[in-house]
């Protein structure tokens, strides 16, 4: 066991997979000799050679397209898109090609690729380095979408993603690369080393996709969250003293529907939290599912706490970010609502 922050855990997962699978390779912008702008591939080119971890042109569409071709050949490419905001030139490749290749060829070809990309705000990245685009992937049939919230999960989920024979979008909440963030930017940052989930096995382990994690058991209300917002939700529960059950979904597709419904049927209340903007967000799907699956158990309207329906504004970052105060208010409304 070692103490790792999320970047180190991701680096360790990549290291493990390059070592275990001779067909695994990494490429992307600045990921080779330099080791990536967030250092996720630091040392891998030196350890395994440029053939296993190399730089790509600034061409997100080209990166994903060539990865699909390599996957169809029989390799297992893991590519980095430097910021999730920059994945859109590759969107056609992900939607029209990676996601449908197996289906349209009736199993002739498939794309076993993993696309790692840092997402989310809280780093003063403005509208070009802060967005949370998960819903544009979860809506695409044929893609899997995974978001870790701790170093331990990041490693186990990334290893599972790389082992998948289907394309996986692996969104990394960059605000919590170095430490868990409770949504209070005014407080000093805490490093991962003070958090139990920074205990990370050095070797191989996989966390199966589609398994949510109940990170806080409770009886009053279910909170559905992922990524950075798991920590914000925990802070809100602690600050309000509400007996919330906080579920870290970890994998949005496939979704662990059984864990979600079991919790909401128990608590009868549900608050959904994400950083992405609200309208048509992943929370809308969660809300619809909870309504469909748990309607007769619900004792209050489902609440959504999200980013606003604006681009991510640079100067108003903390007004946009759905911090613990907003989550706490929603928790209160939800537990105090009477049917």
């Amino acid at each position: 066991m070692a103490t790792m922050n999320m970047i180190q855990a991701i680096n360790s997962a990549l290291d493990v997979m390059l070592d275990r699978d001779p067909k695994a390779l990494i490429f992307g912008e600045d990921v080779g000799y330099f080791g990536g702008v967030f250092r996720a591939t630091d040392g891998l080119a030196a350890k395994y050679g440029a053939k296993r971890c190399f730089d790509a042109p600034i061409s997100e569409g080209g990166i994903i397209a060539t990865a699909i071709g390599m996957g169809a050949y029989g390799l297992r490419p893991v590519v980095e898109i430097q910021f999730a905001d920059y994945i859109l030139p590759a969107y056609d490749q992900l939607v029209s090609e990676a996601a449908r290749l197996r289906y349209r060829s009736a199993g002739d070809f498939w794309a076993p690729i993993t696309v790692r990309t840092p997402y989310g705000g809280g780093i003063f990245g403005g509208q070009t380095h802060s967005s949370s685009p998960e819903a544009i992937f979860t809506h695409v049939t044929g893609l899997k979408t995974v978001i870790p919230s701790t170093p331990h999960d990041a490693k186990g989920l990334l290893i599972a993603a790389i082992e998948e024979d289907d394309p996986v979008i692996f969104l990394e909440p960059k605000r919590i690369y170095q430490g868990p963030f409770d949504g209070h930017p005014e407080r000093p940052a805490t490093p991962w080393s003070q958090h139990p989930a920074s205990d990370v096995p050095e070797g191989y382990y996989a966390i199966p996709l589609g398994t949510a994690n109940v990170v806080r058991a409770g009886r009053a209300v279910t909170v559905l969250a992922y990524g950075t917002m798991v920590h914000v939700a925990l802070a809100a529960a602690a600050e309000t003293g509400i007996d919330a059950e906080v579920i870290d979904l970890r994998s949005l597709v496939p979704l662990d529907i059984d864990t979600v419904t079991a919790s909401v049927r128990k608590t009868g209340r549900c608050v959904i939290v994400h950083e992405a903007s609200r309208f048509g967000g992943y929370g809308a799907e969660l809300s619809a599912l909870v309504q469909e699956e748990c309607f007769y158990h619900l004792q209050a309207p489902i609440e959504r706490v999200t980013g606003w329906d604006t681009p991510y504004p640079h100067a108003f970052e903390w007004d946009y970010f759905p911090g613990p105060a907003r989550v706490g208010k929603a928790l209160k409304r939800c537990v105090e609502a009477e049917t």
């Binding site: 390779l25 053939k51 790509a56 042109p57 061409s59 569409g61 080209g62 994903i64 397209a65 060539t66 990865a67 699909i68 071709g69 390599m70 996957g71 169809a72 050949y73 029989g74 390799l75 490419p77 030139p89 056609d92 490749q93 029209s96 090609e97 449908r100 290749l101 197996r102 289906y103 349209r104 060829s105 009736a106 199993g107 002739d108 070809f109 498939w110 049939t141 044929g142 899997k144 998948e164 024979d165 289907d166 589609g210 597709v253 496939p254 979704l255 529907i257």
Partner: protein, 409 residues
């Protein structure tokens, strides 16, 4: 004094519209045998003239001329001719079948048979073709089962693609034929990635990707060319310049100012401009590029100059936007007639042989279509409905399982 008082926007217009005489004077043609053949190991920068030349082998008398004439064995010529005739018979037959309402859609490759058939005979079994919807000749040259094509066209109970794809969007991995899609240009990068994977693995397999001249305008094509150049991918990128992208003439894709082969120059790749209706020239050019690729010298871009004789698809009416006798006026002729003339000139073929082969191809297609019809035309039979939930993922998740249950009742 260059400066004008006012700017004006240039909007390309084709040289001829319906009612006009077809006009192909813009095609920079030259006689067979005239264009040089650099050795395949020549550095790209020493071949910058090639995208503006034209590789032609067959002259007007059916004789093979010049350095690109490689003396193909008679059985290769016969095989090529048969595959082209089979393609044409298939296209004609299915086009009529579509008129009868037995399928939803169809696309013919009439006039472009040589550029799909000859490369199929050049590529080896481990190689991979990343085709467009107008390359069925590639499969014909490899004896792909005709019945499987027909079943795919009908989306019937024995459709190898389980009723998921529009007609002609085939996939045939075992025949080195990648999954076709209706999106344009989005698989050129796959071909480059596939070729990179071969080189990465130390294998000797190469990739061949096709696009049309219209698709060269897609960003994905330029991304793919960048990767092909940067990583020396062992790939052949073929542009079928058939003059028309639905109703847009090649000038709308940028063909007025330069050749499509010359797109190679900016990437430091060799670019060949080839008579696409000349089976021998196509074969020689692709063999040359394949030799380069297998020698670790990287990718080649090839423009095949040809003509889309048929409409874009069964949903298209080309009489609305182009002269209706372009095929007769096209200076590069018909690929089938030209190979036939060559074989007759060689003394290995007779008009009677040809007639017999045409009849045999038509009969084989007729038999395959009849068999396919007995399995079911569109909507008459289908694969089991539950199979539409398969292959979304390797293993279905709860959504496909639940929805399949709902559909199956």
């Amino acid at each position: 004094m260059l400066r004008n008082s006012r700017l004006s926007l240039h909007i390309p217009e084709p040289p001829a519209r319906p009612g006009d005489r077809p006009d192909f004077r813009h095609l920079d043609l030259r006689p067979a045998g005239e264009t040089r053949r650099p050795e395949p190991e020549t550095p790209a920068h020493e071949m910058r003239d090639m995208p503006y030349a034209l590789v032609r082998v067959l002259d007007e008398d059916g004789q093979a001329q010049g350095p690109w004439a490689r003396g193909l064995p008679p059985e290769t010529l016969r095989k090529g001719l048969e595959a082209m005739l089979l393609t044409r018979a298939f296209d004609d037959r299915i086009f009529r079948i579509h008129r009868q309402g037995k399928t939803s859609f169809f696309m013919r490759s009439t006039g472009e048979e040589a550029l799909a058939v000859a490369p199929s005979l050049v590529l080896e079994p481990g190689d991979m073709c990343f085709p467009t919807y107008r390359n069925v000749g590639f499969l014909m040259a490899r004896d792909y089962p005709l019945l499987d094509l027909v079943n795919q066209i009908f989306s019937n109970a024995r459709d190898p693609l389980k009723g998921r794809q529009m007609p002609v969007l085939y996939s045939a991995r075992d025949y080195g034929f990648y999954s076709v899609s209706g999106n344009l240009g989005s698989r050129v990068g796959h071909a480059v990635g596939w070729a990179m994977a071969s080189a990465w693995s130390g294998d000797d397999r190469i990739a061949l990707a096709y696009i049309g001249e219209g698709t060269t305008a897609e960003g994905a094509v330029h991304e793919a060319l960048t990767f092909a150049s940067v990583y020396h991918a062992p790939a052949i990128l073929a542009i079928s310049n058939n003059q028309w992208a639905i109703s847009s003439f090649q000038g709308v894709a940028g063909g007025e100012e330069t050749t499509f082969a010359a797109r190679a120059l900016a990437y430091g790749l060799p670019g060949l401009r080839v008579d696409g209706n000349d089976f021998l020239a196509v074969h020689a050019a692709v063999s040359w590029a394949a030799e380069r690729a297998r020698s670790n010298l990287g990718a080649t871009l090839i423009e095949f100059v040809t003509l889309r004789i048929a409409g874009h698809s069964t949903s298209d009416d080309p009489t609305r936007y182009r002269p209706d006798d372009e095929a007769r006026a096209f200076p590069l002729g018909d690929p089938v007639e030209r190979l036939k003339g060559h074989m007759i000139a060689l003394g290995i073929w007779t008009p009677e042989d040809h007639e017999a082969l045409v009849a045999a191809c038509e009969e084989r297609i007729r038999a395959a279509v009849k068999q396919g019809e007995s399995i079911g035309t569109l909507g008459v039979t289908k694969p089991p409905v539950g199979t539409m939930f398969e292959d979304v993922f390797k293993t279905p998740d709860w959504r496909q399982i639940r929805q399949r249950r709902e559909v199956e009742g």
